[in-house]
Amino acid sequence: MEMLLSGNEAFARGVYEHGGEFASAYPGTPSTEILETLARQCKADVYCEWSINEKVALEVAVGASWGGARAIAAMKHVGVNVAADPLMTLAYTGVGAGLILVSADDPSLHSSQNEQDNRFYGKFASIPVLEPADSQESLDFVKDAFEISEKFDTPVLFRVTTRIAHSKGLVKLGERRTVEHAGFEKNIAKYVMMPVFAIVRHKMVIERLEALKRFAETTHLNTVEMGDTKVGVISGSVAYQYAKEVLPGASFLKLGLSYPLPMNKIIDFASKVDRLIVVEELEPFYEEQILAVGIPCEGKKFFSNFMELNVERVREGFIEAGALPKSTALPKQAQENVLPRPPALCPGCPHRGLMMALKKCGVNITGDIGCYTLAALPPLETIDTCLCMGASINHAFGIEKAKKTKKKTVAVIGDSTFLHSGITGLANVVYNRGTQTTIIVDNRITAMTGGQDHPGTSKTLMGEPTHAIDLVQLVKALGVEHVRTVDPFDQKTTLAVLKEEIERDAPSVVITTKPCVLFPSKLKPATKFHVLLEKCTACGACFRIGCPAITASSEKNEKGRAKSQIDLELCTGCTLCFQVCPEEAIQELKK
């Protein structure tokens, strides 16, 4: 049977077909759909979980692998940084049953904070890296990845990018086949990485890499397609598709196993073509290694490491390289200047209420990873920093201890992010006698990635009921004595509580209590609001809360400024605009 599947869906299918029994992840674009698909379609055969963070996701998958189950852990590129601690030594211990770590990279940072190229983790940890170039390979390579993992006793890094993970293509499906493995068996020389054993394993890692290099020369994952020999292209992942589109007649060496490289195959390929051009997205990962063994090749001077590639960039690169005549360039047409549509907090989002109150507090606000980061933009302009998961609390602490900043600093962090890696920071604040206010914007879901459960939501990924962590109790247990909960739609109380806690000379936590409007299910408004145009003076107060439901109407005041209107399709009745309107022009709609 053939189906239209995204790379993520196809990978999930591959895990199912090739005997995967355990899958863990922390949600992160563009990797999230892997576990969502597995949980939806395969949970009878594959155990699935949202782990509390990526380090835990990898470590539980390692346990499952040592315990005899083929396992995968999936995360976005920056998630691998969180999981890097277990990863680097996992390279020494090796696996039990096959183990795959999926790194979903995001060139062009469509939904990320950087464009790091995680192929380097393969080289860093001396483990193999597989890179599928479409949905079919996203399924097929799972078989190879499990087999390589088991044959060479190594975790396998399965590296995809946004255009692989989120593009759909036709995929041939197969049946599930399972592989028998024994359960955990004591073997301290392999599993106890104290120096005496680890040093022996490091030697194994070096030997294993040599064996993998030999394997790379013969594996079907790396394919040569000989064509015209004026230009030989070395490429992999989606960059291969762009190059193939632009230079269909050229000779290609397509790399599916992108670390370690098949150097003899590359030398042989180079000898058959007049000129070697490397087309790869982001960093010169292949290019530098190929140059290092003394094979002349060109790459990054035509296809820069800035942002994702596409067909036009690859065509321009080949034209610049002289591999394509200028006449093949498509005529460039002028781009129209159309107003931007930056993403905004949803109508009815509880973060808006918190941000409106915070704006009046005159503080620095360190932020974290989540929807609330959008409040850095106009008109709210409250969030001042965003670096990585869980960092907000620690940044606020550091700014306070540096003693150079007059204004107070507060930290804003979401519930899922707090559980991911905020708890340790808050413990550190208490331990090291910080006095900051930390605000947990608890919307009861992992919202930014599309509404995933977490240890505070009382539901597992497999749909089972479970214990929900009580944030108030947790924070108190860390030693925070001053813990308050507020309804962020009640502006007066929220502001009063914030001011009181910010003033306090002791660590405090404020937790907002309203759920996300989209997840787990879209809020059904009990009431809606509208603008009485005869009362509206076009003062703009409601515009400044940044609600997508509030737009300019065609009615103008005497100075020609537009009065506001509320889109009733979008209004959730949150009352925030009603609370800021000085003219009582915004009123509840009578049914």
Partner: protein, 194 residues
Amino acid sequence: MKDGTTNVLIVGVGGQGVLLASEMLCQVAKTMGLDAKKSEVHGMSQRGGVVTSHVRFGKKVHSPLIEEGAADVILAFEVAEGLRWVHYLKPGGTIIVNEQRIVPPIATTGKFSYPDKVEDTIKARVPHTTVIDAFEIGKKLGNTKLVNTILLGVLSNDLDLEESKWLEVIEKMAPKGTGEINKKAFIEGRQAAK
């Protein structure tokens, strides 16, 4: 249809149903035995951002992305979005513009304004412009949620895909119990543009 591959760019604003429409188009191509790929960026789209979906089908499709200046057809669910992406159209290509206007909140800051006479600007650039009020057609059919399939009906006139396959896919993919009305909406759209 360069190299036998057809390129359709579907654009709009988060929440308009762009992704479902592109999924249906892809399925029709698949049903006809063609290779098909599509690509879009998830993530921020449901927060009112710009949504684009690249759909490509033909004998063998490599890139999931359409090259700038190579789209055979652009289907714009929203007028300003049609204008934003018009440079993706190949010379001689067709653009279909749904008359809906969605003004982003950023327009209230006074720093940006929603463009005037968008349809005229597009028509001046593209001889093959079809402007359609799918919302109005949906209203006549008694359901404005049909905009999606109405626009696919309009689009179908510019593509070499069989009507019966379209209807088959719509029947299969429309929300439960809405197969008939969606097929009707498709046919309305298909005829409206003629």
